[in-house]
Symmetry: D3
Subunit: 320 residues, 6 copies
């Protein structure tokens, strides 16, 4: 029998599977009885779970961030699947590989890193290349790079998402360096790799994705600048001016003050990095939204708040 | 002796050359004497001209849009060159090739069109390919495509600028179609070519670049939609639905209502076209600005109103 | 016995009447039982319906857009009427006149059209008058004009609403033409009639009011411009310049880019049309809101999101 | 010989006429000599005056706000008329009727007031009618009403301009009261007359139009509210509630907080007053702008900052 | 036994206590049975009450604004306390001191007023001091000052809150007058006391806090200006200019047009009053929010819409 | 004879004094002759200088940033003083104390620093106190603190201005710590001192005030964070968490993203620091503007672009 996943569950299915508890709320129903509302996830998606019996007892059995084994049944509620939980059991965390319960990049992280390092080695400026290599091959950092998501939600919000986003931008930069030969390719690649690297420490992704205290207090741009200082200080001849150029690229990559960049891009490469980052993030976000919406079988999406519009759900590759 | 052009004029040069009159104002000086302020252009740029003598007489000799032969001398005023006009003479317009007096794209228009048509021929959808070919090869339209600028000022504001902008976006789209394989390449190429094609009629570029009445009243997006209707109505099997998709791409390519698009992009390809158009226009605009500013020899640009910032003028390809 | 309508239903009434299904959702209650939430409408308004029994069975009996015969009872929930459905039965659509289930303009459409045509015949410019008459008397268009709403919701969102809105603006324009004699009355009347005429194709109003694909992709302004081209091309001597003036009025009638107009009004008549359209729409919208709110018997309305304020519900004609 | 006015002066005319000094600046020319720049006005417009000789001596002869007799000559500077002053002489202010030197409404103030009072007498609510009559017939206020402008510049900025604006709105309100019969006509007329009446004290218009200290510190809305209190306190049975309704109309007539209204319109009549005031002001402003621009003989206006656009200068009444 | 208050209620407590009814809604449950949702308040806070039995009967027993005696039990619903009401009984309003059921300032109102009057007596300008004293000691106004809240919700929204806010600002102004000696201390104190004094009439706080009709129609700034007129007219030598300065301070104290001030601050003291008012309000608001959020025991607050952010809940005085 | 300064120069004065050259432009006059426009400063202000003779020769004698000895005469041009330069001579920079030519704080820097250090020593948290002391007493930093301005223009733009701004805020914080006892005084003082300390390196103030490359590329907030890292790394027990709190205060002190803060204040002390910084800067800016404007003798200021208003110039301390 095929393994049951959030994605392949269907209306009226009997369920016997394990999920990560991403949200957990207990309520008192209008009839005076307690009930529980859960967000249950695995590596294919998230489903709402509802529990009506023995709530008082079961609520003490597990916490947010635990993996639980669930028996129950799927129902459709307003065209969305809901899992009515009949029984549940907490799995001992030491027996759990939490990554199995979070979505993953569609490509293999190790493969992506190999391709990325190849590109890095083609950088001409010794100092910049060294800075990037020392970072990506740092034994503490490398495993984080292989796993970190690019965001809490919205775009590339999955295991390996940051690396996928970095690699996508690097490939675009490789093209742009040829298309606009007046641009410095080394800086483009540096920016592609370092603009979001502070997210390795801004986000925590042990059980689900959340912000760290550092992330909330100082943010990924500040963290990345500190990383530049730390790594560059060990590279002979890495000037303060070059550090400032690197930091400027990081600090300006959101493009506008109101998007949280304390500096606007002040040279061409910084500007291109901000624009391509925005471009790849938007395409990835929209891809995720459209894939979700297409599941409904409608021609037009529901109103999308982020983009403030309805989307046409036709796949143009099939239509034309 | 080298031909005198706006670009190669230097302080204290004696001048004997021909220019297009792009602006013409007559003033009364504080000493009660009339003077004339001109903007004089050729295919390398524009210089301010000043005339102090025989103004009453000479002002009747020529009009805005004429080409005149000027004798005079170059002076520096606040680090900008100024041409003090001593004598001038109007050239019979029938003897003038006005294009010699406007800036041109850095590439040959015919070559660009050849490359563009090659790409068009690789489009898979017969209807779309036919629509684009019927347009670019229309004997009335083709010569306009070879010459039209992409804007009155700001970006690609030169003879052949529109074609240069179109070709640049087509190349980017060719890459994007491979990079994001879920995008329909035919629509990307259609959008690259048609999004601004209404500018052929929105702008007039006989003597200098200005807006036509049509351009001011209905704009290039409306004109392009009418072109789609006109051409598509002669292509067998070109459905109204496909027309509407084409028109949607045109109408939404400014990306936001406040930028003059009556529709926001509602599918992925329309969104990518709007973003890549914005991207290529910004890079081109900034390139022009930085090239101009670098002439000053300063490290930082003057305050730039369009981007609301000062730019670092270092060329990173030389610096790194 | 008086016919039961949404408007005249009262708390605790037993109901036996027919309604159009405007929304239909099935849910699973906290007790694990399915229930159904409906929006049920007739020509006097809309009421929420709730069904608790035999949901699985009945949900298959009818679809959104059907007319159903309902037996049940009215209850008050948070001061709003709710219809508890006990039994329901689908009516064969071929036996239904759907217009009986949508709100209507307060005036007779045929009468309004007669008055409108009378005004049109007083236009002095032969080309403009012909353009308008050829449109309103087009045997395909005329029946649409008699029935179309002016919007999906908000203002004049009822059968005949567009005509009511057009006629109201025409009367105001008739006055304005006298009040400001420097305005051209023909253009004012043209704008009053054509600014929203694209809505005939932008909206679908068979069972409820919704947007068409054309409406979403290219919008009513683009559609109206195409109508101008189609009709004007058959009128001898109708110049392209006059077409552009007509199209400009249409394209600029939302007044500002951020309201979806690709052009700002560039002559006085275009400006007045945009302002009067806004004025009549706002008055109509507010009238509808206040009439609804007054039903509550309160002195102040609930917070109104559209206008971002609370309204005083006193009727000043009664108060003073 | 026709009297010389700003309007009928032509290039190269010898001038011998009287003007109000609206601005006066003394400068030191680049040749070290002093010169004087004046704005000289009469009831037909304003012209720039320039004086090159005996500046030191003449500058002590007159002040801003004086009327002077000027001899000199007209010159064109950048298509605008300039008056080169050769001699000048101050006129004893006691011999001057300053109103002869300010633009006037195109209609006779007394006639306008008669029409206005007639409308007021048709108001049905005794208290409101009394309030308005007591104000307009107050022997201190009436002469101000006959003369006050509606603004410092922009719209109705001439002697009698406020009355002209009030009367225009009253006529529109008279129509609107019939067109939308649910509106209370008395409140519409009250709002038409009182919304800007504080301008009688906000603006000073003895020699030119300027703001008073009261105008700058508390503004015309606050002043009008105080007037309501003062007048209403002498009318038997004028309730505080009615006063508050009157004040609300005044305080909300700019429509939005950011336009300086401390309250948004909270009932229909207040909303209509704000919209019609905005409408009549915009039409009047645009009329003034277009009339000025048409003098240039161009087809398109210069860029207009207030409306952020270029205007088409064709008169549609002549064109169609 | 300790008196039961909203604050000291705990999960599963049996309740027998009196509360003010701040909101009252009756609904029909999904099982067809009616239920009632109440907001019940005392001087320590507000709790949601839910009633499941005998709803039809009990709903007629009491109204919004009544005090009721409740028997029931506390339950947690999504980490918030909820009171399940078993029995309830209306208390005869004549037997109720409603202030016992609204939150109060943490300081004694009489003490605060004594301190305030002491500061007022130190004002140097006789007219201003008299104006403030005549107001605060007015036998009609004084009792209102002792009780009024500063707002409906958000900041200082409790009995005595306005006085607490006024006194806090007065103390800050006392400091600022010394710190910036170029500021006029009398005006600072006047502004501290009068900027919000119109709230005495803008808000009603008999049973809960709500807006009065005057408050909604003309607002506290207009009301305060009328108070200045009323009181100043009885003080010999109080000039109209001083009145206008006082009114300007009141009218400009929201600092920006879009915050509802019809005038921007136009002298230093008016500016300082607007800024200090904003400062004290924000600190007080944030204090209230953080105190509430800290009850949850979390390190970070929930998303706060007013400030558009998450707050760190650490108390820095404990942490450092 | 009193020393001649920019401030005490009067119309028609003969001048023989030294000034710093803050701007230098050479133009060609309409008569074809060259002239020079200078901005000349000393520690009391700045005056425009104009030179008409021997421009070609004298322009080579000195550069921007030099101090020159000038002979010439004062003239009034549009109510502003202008210095007509007859002769000039460059002063050997090694003989110049440039600080004599820049405006200074009104208080002695050494005295201000003594007071500041006294406050710092009263901080309770050992780590924070040490961090601040190690910074202010760093032999490289201390002399910069004594001299740095707080901004390029606008507020505290003079020698010692940063220290004056810091001390002013510290005093306010000392008060606020008592007024709002729930605030942590140590963090308030830290924020007062460190929020702008990066300006020591962001600004250069050798000859005039300008931005450094570091300032433009990474800004004073980033620089200050690096300083925290550098100093804290040498203090035993200074946790990373405390560093992040310090950095958060720095990074959030502009209060809003659009003002260049990459983080919004997320705890009370950070919020208070942002508000008090804004408050002291605005008061100081406005004080400077009003002092300048009052020199004109007018009752109302010219239009002020920064604050978008006209200011009343009355000194309320004199008026009341």
């Amino acid at each position: 029998m095929e393994k049951q996943t959030v994605q392949n569950l269907k209306d009226k299915d009997s369920v016997d599977a394990m999920f990560l508890v991403k949200e957990k709320n207990v309520g008192v129903g209008k009839n005076g009885r307690a009930f529980m509302v859960l967000q249950l996830g695995d590596n294919t998606g998230t489903i709402e779970g509802r529990l009506w019996d023995r709530v008082d007892e079961l609520t003490r059995e597990f916490e947010l961030g635990d993996v639980i084994k669930v028996k129950g049944q799927v129902q459709l509620f307003q065209n969305r699947k809901q899992l009515i939980v009949h029984r549940l059991e907490r799995i001992d965390p030491t027996q759990v590989n939490f990554e199995d319960f979070m979505p993953k990049a569609s490509k293999d992280s190790e493969d992506m890193l190999v391709e990325l390092l190849q590109m890095v080695r083609s950088m001409k400026n010794d100092h910049l290349r060294q800075l990037v290599l020392d970072t990506l091959e740092d034994p503490e950092i490398k495993p984080m790079v292989l796993r970190a998501p690019a965001a809490k939600s919205i775009h590339h919000a999955w295991i390996g998402g940051l690396l996928e986003h970095i690699l996508s931008i690097c490939r675009i930069m490789d093209f742009m360096g040829k298309h606009y030969p007046f641009l410095n390719r080394d800086l483009l690649l540096f920016g592609a790799i370092f603009h979001d690297i502070g997210k390795l420490w801004e986000l925590s992704y042990e059980n689900g994705i959340s912000y760290t205290d550092r992330g909330r207090l100082i943010g990924h741009m500040q963290i990345a600048c500190e990383l530049v200082d730390k790594k560059a200080s060990r590279i002979l001849g890495f000037t303060e001016e070059l550090r400032d150029i690197c930091k400027h690229i990081i600090l300006s990559h959101h493009g506008k003050l109101e998007y949280g960049s304390p500096k606007r891009p002040k040279f061409m490469e910084a500007m291109v990095i901000a624009m391509v980052d925005d471009f790849d993030s938007k395409v990835s976000t929209l891809k995720t939204i459209l894939d979700n919406e297409r599941a409904s079988g409608e021609k037009w999406s529901r109103y999308n708040e982020l983009f403030d519009r309805y989307f046409l759900l036709d796949d143009m590759n099939e239509k034309l």
